[in-house]
């Protein structure tokens, strides 16, 4: 039986590193024969590196956040495995646990992408929202409010409730109540002329 460790490059880990997936720890061999997997993670790492170097393997995300799947479909490139009778399947895949550094880089990329999407959505929402004007209401007595409203009308302008709230920062219900009172007292009345806007 050919020992696979005899034929894979000794700098396999560094090759993996250039592919952005090293250092990795293989935690499952998927379709790789149990016996081959039993040869050790270093062997699998070198095999994966060799396939990646030859462009005959691909890296894809796994269902676990901190893992990737390295997959290759051309077992003929693995002559040692063929010779050993371990390469009868149509392809190989291994699940590799990423190092903490790789995992953080992967997570950071995902977060950056998510943040960018959120910023774009927020910009769209802000563009669609009407401008909100914040009004801080004053807390004054009803008598004081009534006096201020009368003074406002004494300037001769036609005013609706919105104008009064804008000018005096009073509660809407209070303004409506006082205006109704002033109408009953004959102080003010609905204006027949069109209300000036703006």
């Amino acid at each position: 039986m050919v020992n696979p460790t005899d034929v894979v490059p000794h700098d396999a880990e560094s090759v993996l590193d250039t592919k952005g997936v090293a250092p990795v720890t293989f935690i499952d061999a998927g379709r790789v024969q149990e016996a081959y997997f039993a040869a050790g993670t270093a062997v699998l790492s070198r095999l994966a590196a060799k396939c990646l170097e030859a462009g005959r393997a691909s890296v894809r995300p796994s269902t676990w956040d901190d893992c990737i799947v390295i997959q290759w479909d051309e077992p003929e490139t693995m002559e040692p495995m063929r010779a050993s009778g371990l390469a009868d399947t149509s392809g190989f895949s291994v699940i590799a646990q990423l190092s903490e550094n790789s995992r953080l880089r992967h997570e950071n990329a995902l977060l950056q992408r998510g943040l960018s999407e959120i910023e774009q959505r927020l910009a769209r929402i802000e563009a669609a929202l009407p401008e909100v004007k914040v009004v801080v209401l004053r807390e004054i007595s009803r008598a004081e409010a009534k006096r201020e409203i009368k003074e406002l009308f004494a300037q001769g302008e036609a005013l609706d409730y919105e104008d009064i709230i804008d000018k005096l920062s009073l509660d809407l219900e209070l303004v409506v109540d006082i205006c109704n009172e002033l109408i009953e007292e004959g102080e003010i009345a609905p204006d027949a002329r069109p209300h000036a806007t703006g």
Binding site: F153, A154, G156, E157, A158, L159, D160, Y161, E162, L172, E173, V176, C179, N180, L182, I183, G186, E187, I188, A189, P190, D191, A192, R193, H195
Partner: protein, 72 residues
């Protein structure tokens, strides 16, 4: 002035001022040109009032002359 609080009570006016704790999204109702209108739902402590401009009686009387003769 009466407060309308029953199901189906409606306000119809040129201008209504409303306040509420929750204001839903605006919906554009189908129509064309100037007849297009929008719809919004207010919920929780809703208060709406018809807002017709008011004027002090003394200015209302004196202003009627200028209404008839806007150029003077």
């Amino acid at each position: 002035m009466p407060d309308h609080t029953q199901q189906g009570d409606a306000l119809r006016a040129q201008k209504v001022i409303a306040q509420a704790r929750q204001i839903g999204p605006r919906r554009l109702l189908p129509g064309s040109g100037r007849h297009r209108t929008q719809q919004v739902t207010l919920a929780d402590s809703v208060y709406c009032v018809i807002a017709i401009p008011l004027r002090a009686i003394q200015f209302k009387r004196s202003s009627s002359f200028t209404d008839k003769h806007p150029n003077r």
